[in-house]
Amino acid sequence: MTPDLLWAPFGEFAFMRRALLGGVALACSAGPLGVFLILRRMSLMGDAIAHGILPGAALAFWLFGLSLPALTAGGLVAGLGMAGAAAWVTRRTGLREDASLAALYPISLASGVLLLGLAGRKLDLLHLLFGSALAVDTATLYGMLGTALFSLAVLALSYRALALDSLDPLFLRSISRFGPLAHAAFLTLVVLNLVIGFQAIGALMVVGLMMLPAAAARFWSRRLLILLPLAALIGAVCVWLGLVLSFYASLPSGPCIVLLAGAFYLFSLVAGPVNGLLRSTPFPITV
């Protein structure tokens, strides 16, 4: 494939340019969030929240139709509500947070499907779950760009607190009261990125764009300050090449992007210099 072929679809079609710009922006914020999700041992949280978004988005669709602000608000409230409910159940009952999330997200998914049925209008469930990057309109694009910029700004501001809270939470709590605030801001960003992403590449596919580049990056560096931009870069390249693949092979764009990220993850798993399978592994990898 020549360089011309890699760029031609974007030069020729405005919808491809919007998809590329939006997808790259989303990858730039979702990748670093994924790195922190892994470091905070919350890797499955993104998947659970992505399901949790559905009833809110379905309700918004029922009431307001295909309105971007309404879908965003509905998804945001539902996603944050589920994360908050899981944390509350854990605090009140001692049930582990992953277990309370695992219990809540099938409820959310089923409620979402039921609400879509009740709505009586046709919103393709497959579109909601797996999206279509090629349907990114100007409003969605601005939403994605705004979300990415906002996320990166908040991440930069709360970077130290998030890192120390993941590394040594007791020490952070002894010197600062910023830990819980940083955690809440971080969760909000995860939900916001999933919500804005599900409209472009689908609720389930966006989790792949968040977690796969982050997991792959872990096999290439042991430095947080390298892992964060590296995850963004891997995600951005996968968006670009995934869109090209989807264009020429007439395949759905979301799965193309995520499968490319998955292929790079598998390559990293085998060939990555940090505890990759081809290297000896003196330490068990936990992040």
Binding site: R160, A163, L164, L167, F171, S174, I175, S176, L224
Partner: protein, 223 residues
């Protein structure tokens, strides 16, 4: 200075001891001793403001944030976290108002003080338990807090590390800081000038550590 009035602490609403009144002067060193599960680490967390007491109040004479520094046990630290030793130690500057150059010089000096200069670019995963413990102590010493709460500071340290630890503890005492540490090493503590605070179900006893050593047989295996 630490003053506790009618202090009770414990998990699940059940106090571990009767109410405790305690006065620890500035420049003092107090070793909290007691059997497993007696509530030594929990007491430190309550004084550090990490847990709420069940009853009573604590007066530190300084702000909780910035005035108090806490050394957690090693298992609370994620050994696989992708940062270097110098970055871990630098977290001690969290509330510092020093400029960049001053920080750099202070960090270098502190790493040298704890014998960590050669390890500053090592990732946490590559450190031994003793090296990580020295890094955590170096981070603590950068905080400049007046009240230092150390949960098992001797853990994993070899003789060289122990020497560094006690040299620093004596320096911190001379600087007028109040130190409380949790320890299981009663014999080791008896070589130093410090008080002991024995925590038991029947109540707390505070006395010079050598007295505990002398009466160890009568008190039973307390530490």
């Amino acid at each position: 200075m630490i003053e506790c009035h009618g202090l009770q602490w414990g998990a699940g609403g059940r106090p571990l001891t009767p109410p405790v009144d305690l006065q620890l002067a500035a420049g003092s060193l107090t070793a909290v001793i007691g059997s497993n599960g007696s509530g030594k680490s929990s007491l430190l967390k309550v004084i550090a403001g990490l847990d709420r007491p069940l009853a009573g109040r604590i007066d530190l004479g300084v702000s909780l944030l910035g005035g108090v520094s806490y050394l957690p046990q090693q298992q609370h630290v994620d050994r696989q976290f992708p940062i270097r030793l110098a970055e871990l130690v630098s977290a001690g500057f969290w509330r510092s108002r020093l400029g960049r150059d001053e920080r750099r010089a202070r960090l270098r000096q502190t790493l040298a003080d704890w014998g960590l200069l050669d390890l500053q670019t090592q990732g946490l995963h590559a450190l031994s338990g003793g090296e990580l413990q020295r890094a955590l102590l170096a981070r603590l010493s950068l905080t400049d807090a007046q009240v230092l709460l150390l949960d098992e500071p001797e853990a994993a340290l070899d003789d060289v590390g122990l020497g560094l630890l006690w040299r620093h503890i004596e320096r911190w005492q001379r600087e007028g800081r109040t130190l409380v540490l949790v320890s299981h090493n009663l014999a080791g503590l008896s070589h130093h000038h410090c008080d002991g605070l024995l925590i038991a179900r029947s109540g707390c006893i505070k006395a010079p550590i050598r007295q505990f050593m002398a009466e160890r047989q009568r008190l039973g295996q307390v530490a």
